[in-house]
Structure formats: structure tokens, C-alpha cells
Amino acid sequence: MFPFCFEWKWDPDHFIFLGFLYLVLIIIGTGLGIAFLKTSAQVLGFMRERHFDH
């Protein structure tokens, strides 16, 4: 549900509940985005490959 939907109410309950959901989705999306951008930069030669110890 987005704030422009008719069911949305401008109250703390909607802010907290959906605010946390979108925060989590933004974090997950950002993480994936960072990994994708770093990979692209490394493949294209703009960044060196790091040897990461798992």
C-alpha cells in the first residue's frame, strides 16, 4: 500500500507499520544494488577484484 492509495491514513500506525516495511525493502534493494554496481565496476575494469576470505 502506498500513501496515494485511498485506504492509506495519515496516522502513526500506518507510518510505523509500512514505514518499517519500506525501510527493510530499501535496505535489501540497496544491498543488492551495491553488489551489482561493484560487480559491474570490477568487470569493466574500473575497480580491482578483492580476494575475500569467506
Partner: protein, 412 residues
């Protein structure tokens, strides 16, 4: 040994022949097929294929869901201990924990897809959300957490020997590994709330004194007890699965240090959980139940669910495994560790069964009668398909992915 198959094995490891591997997987594939038949019938003909009624809207599938979600908590909790607390020795078991979590959550969500009756309307709970509903919170969190688990599982898949040859995928896997702490923290946040809300949704049922509990602010005590029981049983289930894998493969797969760290943490958590569960049971029996005009034995006077359930849950599968795990010499003994973990996991499954089925079976009106329920073969098939799916995915992952990083070192 098939050379094409052997080329996919992790570097320097030995695996059984392809024929034996296929034979091992036949029972799991049959279980999956049984579930598939049940699922097709439920989707095509509807939920009349089950013995669920308006009275028993939560049944076998929800018991399985709640149980596997609690047992799968090892993934988020091991991730939290490894990446946030910094228990480096758990890196030797984290891959297996993530896989077990992924199996549990993906299986639970697939089963919920059938349980809701009309999966095409499954998105309604996300879009037309009731922000005061604990069930809505659970739906949001388990879906988002399955995404996190998939992201955590992806680098393990990308570590396959042949996939590693593809530079782009190898780099992507490495880059995901580098920011795993961020996903682990997100997973911890999501898991805390959905494990809690699964308990909370029973605790807020004011009209059902068997489940109703008082609490802190909007959260009944069952919220905290479910979180605690999940983080106590989850690591035990991870230990059990790795021990089973070691028994079947006849190899040592995880260093003792990692298992003992996990067992020690599980011991303290189980101890605290059992203590709080006893307090909760006493308050419920001597304060809340009389307040509702009932006595404790009123809950157990009809049907097959007698007081033995309470004794089994709290004493046999609660206090006893807690004591075994809390004694250092006992948890260091391989046999006792497995027994304690098995009992701990059984206790948590029993707890989820009691809250789901017994809560609904007990009448709440003076004219109400005890209602019993037994699942149909379609329900059993769909529930047991999760077991088949779990064995199949674990077996495939063990064969082709570096699930246990120390396997080569431990089996020279």
C-alpha cells in the same frame, strides 16, 4: 563416477555415485509428488479437499508452518551471532544454517499459498493491509525474510566449482559476501518480529482463555516466548541436521568448536525460555483462567488433548533437554547432545501444535462442544512434501555446493 557430475563437486571432496544419489532421492521425490497431487486437487477443487472447517481454519498446515518457522530460526540467529556478534567459529556452520532456514521458509510459504485457498489473491494481504493485524505483520516479515534468505543462499550457489569459472558471477557472489552483515542484521530484525507476532496472534485472542495472555504494551507474553523458543530451538535443529548429514555421509563435516558454541548458546536460551514458560503457565493457570470463570482442568476434560500435553511440553520436552544442554559434560557427549536437541525441537513443535490446534478445539461458549480434527490425505501430502523438499534440496546442495567449508580439512 560420471565425469560430468564429478566436475560439479566442491574441490577436493568425495561424493557417492550418481546412481546411489538418485536412489537416495527417490523417496523424497515421491513425497513431493504426493504433495503435488494434493496441491493440484486443493487448487482445482478448493479447500473442501481438506478437513478444515470454519471452526478449524488453522490446522495441520499452520502447525507445520509454525513449527518449521521456529526450527528455521537457526538461520537468522546463527547469522546474527556470526556477522553481528562476531562468533567467527560459526562461519563453519553458517552455510548449512542458511540452507535449513531457506528450506523451512520457502516450504512454509509454498504451503501457505495452498492454505489461503485462492493464491491469486495472495497479494491482498500486502496491498489492502490491516496495520493492526499481527498476521499481516507475519506475512510481511516472512515474505521479506525469505528474500533475505534467498540473497544469503545465492553466494553459496555461486560458489559451485563450475559457476566460479564465470567471472561475473564469481565477483557478484564475493560482493554479496562482503555485505552479508547488512543482510544478517535485516534478517534478525524481520525474524524477531515475525517469530514474536506468530505468538502474539494467539496471545491477543481475548475470547479464547486457553491462548489469551496479558503482556507488555501491545505485545502479549506469548510474543516474547515465541521469539525465545525459536532462538533456543533453531540452533538445536541446525545441529541435528548437520549431525544427520554427518551420520549419512559418514564424514565429519563441522568442527566441534562450532557445534559446541551453538549448543552452549542454545543451552542458556532454552534454560531462560523454560523458566519463563513455567512462570507464564503458572500465571495463566492461577490468574487468567480463574478470571475467565474456568479452572485449569476445564481445558483438558474433553477430547484427546489431556493434561499430559502440558506435562510433555513443559517438563519432558522442556525442562529435561534444558538440563542436559546446561550440563557441559552432557552437551559435549555426542549422543546426549543429539537427544537434547531432538527433545528441544519436539517441545517447540508440541508448543506450536498446542497453540494452533488445542486452542481451537476447546469450546468457548457454554453450549459449545469439543471439536476434533484429523487431516485428509491431501493435507498430509502437502505437509510431508515439505520434508521431501527439504531432504532433496539439502542433498543437492551438499553434493554440489561447498556447504561445509571445513569438509576437506576434516576429511583428509
Amino acid at each position: 563416477m560420471n565425469p560430468f557430475d564429478a566436475a560439479l563437486f566442491p574441490e577436493g571432496t568425495k561424493r557417492c555415485s550418481l546412481k546411489l544419489f538418485i536412489a537416495w532421492n527417490i523417496p523424497w521425490i515421491l513425497l513431493l509428488l504426493w504433495g503435488l497431487v494434493g496441491a493440484v486437487l486443493c487448487l482445482y477443487k478448493g479447500l473442501n479437499q481438506t478437513n478444515m472447517t470454519d471452526y478449524f481454519a488453522f490446522a495441520l498446515w499452520i502447525v507445520f508452518d509454525l513449527a518449521v518457522i521456529a526450527l528455521g530460526a537457526g538461520a537468522f540467529f546463527t547469522g546474527f551471532l556470526t556477522y553481528i556478534i562476531g562468533k567467527k567459529e560459526l562461519k563453519d556452520i553458517i552455510n548449512a544454517a542458511v540452507l535449513i532456514g531457506f528450506i523451512c521458509y520457502s516450504g512454509a510459504i509454498a504451503m501457505l499459498g495452498i492454505d489461503i485457498g485462492q493464491p491469486l489473491r495472495g497479494w491482498f494481504i500486502f496491498w489492502h493491509v490491516n496495520v493492526h493485524s499481527m498476521l499481516a505483520e507475519v506475512s510481511f516479515c516472512i515474505t521479506a525474510y525469505l528474500g533475505v534468505l534467498a540473497i544469503e543462499y545465492l553466494p553459496i550457489i555461486l560458489e559451485n566449482r563450475q559457476i566460479q569459472r564465470i567471472k561475473e558471477l564469481r565477483l557478484f557472489g564475493n560482493n554479496l559476501h562482503e555485505i552479508m552483515a547488512m543482510f544478517a542484521a535485516t534478517g534478525t530484525f524481520l525474524s524477531f518480529f515475525h517469530q514474536g507476532s506468530l505468538g502474539g496472534l494467539f496471545g491477543v485472542m481475548y475470547a479464547r482463555p486457553f491462548a489469551y495472555r496479558e503482556g507488555f504494551y501491545v505485545w502479549p507474553w506469548t510474543f516474547f516466548l515465541f521469539v525465545l523458543s525459536a532462538i533456543a530451538a533453531g540452533p538445536c535443529f541446525t545441529i541435528l541436521c548437520t549431525r544427520l548429514a554427518e551420520f549419512i555421509t559418514r564424514k565429519k563435516l563441522v568442527p566441534d568448536k562450532a557445534v559446541q558454541t551453538l549448543a552452549k548458546i542454545a543451552a542458556y536460551l532454552t534454560g531462560i525460555y523454560v523458566l519463563l514458560k513455567i512462570v507464564d503457565t503458572l500465571v495463566w493457570a492461577y490468574k487468567l483462567t480463574p478470571k475467565a470463570g474456568l479452572t485449569l482442568m476445564d481445558y483438558y476434560k474433553e477430547g484427546p488433548y489431556g493434561i499430559w500435553l502440558l506435562i510433555a511440553e513443559v517438563i519432558i520436552f522442556g525442562i529435561i533437554p534444558a538440563i542436559i544442554l546446561l550440563i557441559p559434560k552432557a552437551r559435549q557427549h555426542p549422543g546426549w547432545l543429539v537427544v537434547a536437541c531432538l527433545m528441544n525441537c519436539t517441545g517447540i513443535v508440541l508448543n506450536r501444535f498446542v497453540f494452533t490446534v488445542v486452542t481451537l478445539a476447546i469450546p468457548v461458549m457454554p453450549f459449545g462442544r469439543f471439536v476434533s480434527y484429523w487431516p485428509t490425505w491431501q493435507e498430509w501430502g502437502i505437509a510431508l512434501a515439505l520434508v521431501g523438499y527439504g531432504f532433496l534440496l539439502f542433498s543437492l546442495s551438499y553434493r554440489y555446493l561447498p556447504l561445509f567449508p571445513k569438509e576437506r580439512e576434516l576429511n583428509p
